[in-house]
Symmetry: C2
Subunit: 200 residues, 2 copies
């Protein structure tokens, strides 16, 4: 049985969001599973020395236009959030908390966080907003709230980020298929070709 596709992303990444709306369906066409792995791009950006994309002269203005156009191209709803980028530690920790209990529910929560931010413009760095989203999907608000304060969950996310960097992940989305890395939602056609051909 083939290994699952690994999907690394940051909840504040527009291209990560776009990929999140496509990756499972793409993988399913090739009878493949996807492991979702949120991480903190800030950690990777420290490693590469890269600034936040939208703050780069020239490139920043282009990026804002490209986020929206790429969303239309992929037919995914998108409204660039007024607050951008956001801190995503809490969202990523909540994901891993849920993942250890129910990995399918965690995926539904991840979609809900992405859509709340990139469609409705909700501030998903806000703990209240996150707890509200989680509660609506059936989480125990008090239990999650307590877990988010715990050192164990902080350590868990730290370990996931370190593991991501160790695998070479430097941005979002970063997709690994049978050891082959693909960076960017614009690499999905190559991912598809790779899955169809068993490499090329």
């Amino acid at each position: 049985m083939p290994q699952p596709i690994e999907f690394y992303f940051d909840f504040t990444s527009p291209y990560g969001y776009l990929a999140s709306e496509k990756i499972d369906e793409l993988a399913a066409r090739f009878q493949r599973q996807v492991k979702w792995r949120p991480f903190l791009m800030g950690v990777a950006l420290q490693a590469t020395g890269a600034p936040v994309l939208t703050k780069v002269p020239l490139k920043g203005d282009y990026a804002l236009r490209d986020f929206a156009r790429s969303a239309r191209f992929l037919q995914v709803p998108y409204a660039h959030p007024a607050r951008f980028p956001l801190a995503t530690q809490a969202a990523a920790r909540a994901y891993y908390w849920w993942h250890d209990r129910d990995c399918q529910a965690a995926r539904t929560f991840a979609h809900s966080v992405f859509r709340a931010y990139f469609v409705e413009g909700s501030d998903v760095s806000d703990l209240g907003v996150l707890l509200e989203l989680a509660e609506r999907l059936g989480a125990d608000r008090d239990e999650l709230s307590a877990a988010l304060q715990s050192q164990a969950l902080k350590d868990r996310l730290k370990a996931e980020c370190e593991a991501a960097i160790a695998r070479g992940v430097f941005g979002s989305p970063y997709i690994i298929v049978d050891g082959e890395p693909f960076f960017g939602v614009d690499r999905l056609p190559q991912v598809e070709h790779w899955l169809a051909s068993g490499g090329f």
Copy 2:
């Protein structure tokens, strides 16, 4: 009659080379012309503060793999050159020298420079190599050699680079279709969709 598509590139850019092998054919399917505009990425990189891609930690190793894989994906021959990147002032100046005389011959020369570098591994920063390539395509070697020393041709390239930056060009390839900018060979599917739909 629609405006030509503008195609900005640097002769040392692998993704620029890949786009150069596809852009004219793509445009022709929509009865569009392409204006080729070599520029110096070093000037744009100064503006954006970005380092050379292959020297970025993590991202550099990925880039080398992605150049070759993207070439296979697009079915374009590619062998990453031992000397990379190269200074491309002379190649770009030779292009503009030729362009002012015969724009079609200049395009053939541009293909020849790209392929010499990215297929045969020739050092196209070397004046002798460039003059040889030009002579084989029918240029007067002495005339081109003299022109490459002239202030007029240096000023011409400088003006082209300044014009590119003024239009927002920050990397290679950078393609403008009816005012809409597309960065990267991976945006060719969006360029195609744009041409087919008149915007989206």
